[in-house]
Point group: C2
Chain length 225, copies 2
């Protein structure tokens, strides 16, 4: 009996990464979830990540603390910058500088340590087109970097980066997740959720999520303040 292949799945606790985890499991991977505690305002997301990881029976769930607050510059990590209540033009202030580069670098490190040949990440270029590090060309370039950056890469077996949601709409993502049996009530997308994980309903992320459920004609399980 061949052992099932291992994958590292970046899990934020939001709707997208919960869907990616279900996709990776459905593909037959033994999934090792990796969450990053980067001092985000919406700490309820990390609780959601733990619930989602447990519900989807991951092999392991690592939470790496990282003090991005020492750098600042985003409404998500810097208390001085308010989370906007209106849709923003261009790159939103909720953009965390170089976040996906940091997240993928950590996933790459973990993949090397546990011998995983695959990394799954829930970036999405459609809804978040304002974030430069959510674009397909960014993911492709990170793959090239991974091929050079690690011991595994040097040995010709570098981890493959998968971003299965990258060109899906939020409604498509939800339909896919529902088909895989996800309980989206466990997930938290709001940029300023309260400690119980209830959502504000007005931030960009809440709006995109609610709109996704409407478009997909799926009942929205989100708890609001």
């Amino acid at each position: 009996m061949t052992e099932r292949p291992r994958a590292v799945v970046l899990l934020s606790g939001g709707l997208d990464s919960a869907t990616v985890l279900a996709i990776a499991s459905d593909l037959g991977f033994f999934c090792h979830a990796l969450s990053v505690d980067y001092g985000q305002r919406h700490r309820a997301e990390l609780d959601a990540a733990r619930r989602v990881a447990a519900a989807q029976k991951v092999v392991s769930h690592s939470v790496v603390p990282i003090g991005l607050g020492a750098i600042g510059g985003s409404a998500l990590t810097d208390p001085q910058i308010p989370v906007p209540k209106q849709p923003s033009e261009g790159i939103p202030v909720t953009y965390v500088p170089a976040r996906n580069t940091v997240l993928l670098a950590l996933a790459l490190g973990q993949a090397e340590v546990i011998g995983a040949g695959d990394i799954f990440v829930g970036v999405n270029a459609v809804d978040y087109s304002g974030y430069p590090d959510c674009r397909p060309e960014f993911i492709a370039k990170f793959q090239e970097l991974a091929d050079l950056a690690t011991k595994a890469g040097v040995e010709g077996r570098s981890a493959q980066i998968h971003a299965p949601l990258i060109s899906l709409s939020k409604a498509d993502i939800i339909r896919r997740g529902i088909a895989l049996g996800i309980d989206y009530g466990l997930t938290v997308s709001c940029y300023q959720a309260d400690d119980a994980g209830r959502a504000c309903g007005v931030c960009d992320s809440c709006r995109l999520r609610a709109e996704g459920f409407r478009t997909a004609s799926v009942p929205d399980p989100t708890a609001y303040w």
Copy 2:
């Protein structure tokens, strides 16, 4: 009067990064030092980073904590893996998976936040040829990634990565630093320095450093156990 340009300088507290900081200052940059507390065994390095930053009068010094111990896999962060006392073949166990990818990602984030157009890193391909992420092709690829990853990159003014030591020998680095007035007695290179910053004298890093001072015919200011 034009404001001097800003640079982010990755500062570990070791000999190489202290030299890079002096080079960046000498080039006329206002230097913002960035150190990462990744749970390294040689915590005396962080104290050294603070001393070096102060001695070289940086504009700011940020220390970002990051819990790489949650991932493990290196003798530098995993207490289960001993630091070797003999030179190793191939990629050494002191290699921290994806470390330079993580460090450069953080520097990229900080550069964006403070409006720095340049990033300096002390990687060196000669002495540490066993570390895949110390090679020139890795740095070049990270530059391509930076051009895609950030708001600044999208706007055509992405931070430029400089690795001025990449092809220098340890002795050349020391000669360069001495010419710039560095007190290497402030730096700590040992993988298992004690709390006072005194070095073991037997790990790979100690051997390379001592050999560098000998070859450069410069008195070695290192304090040993």
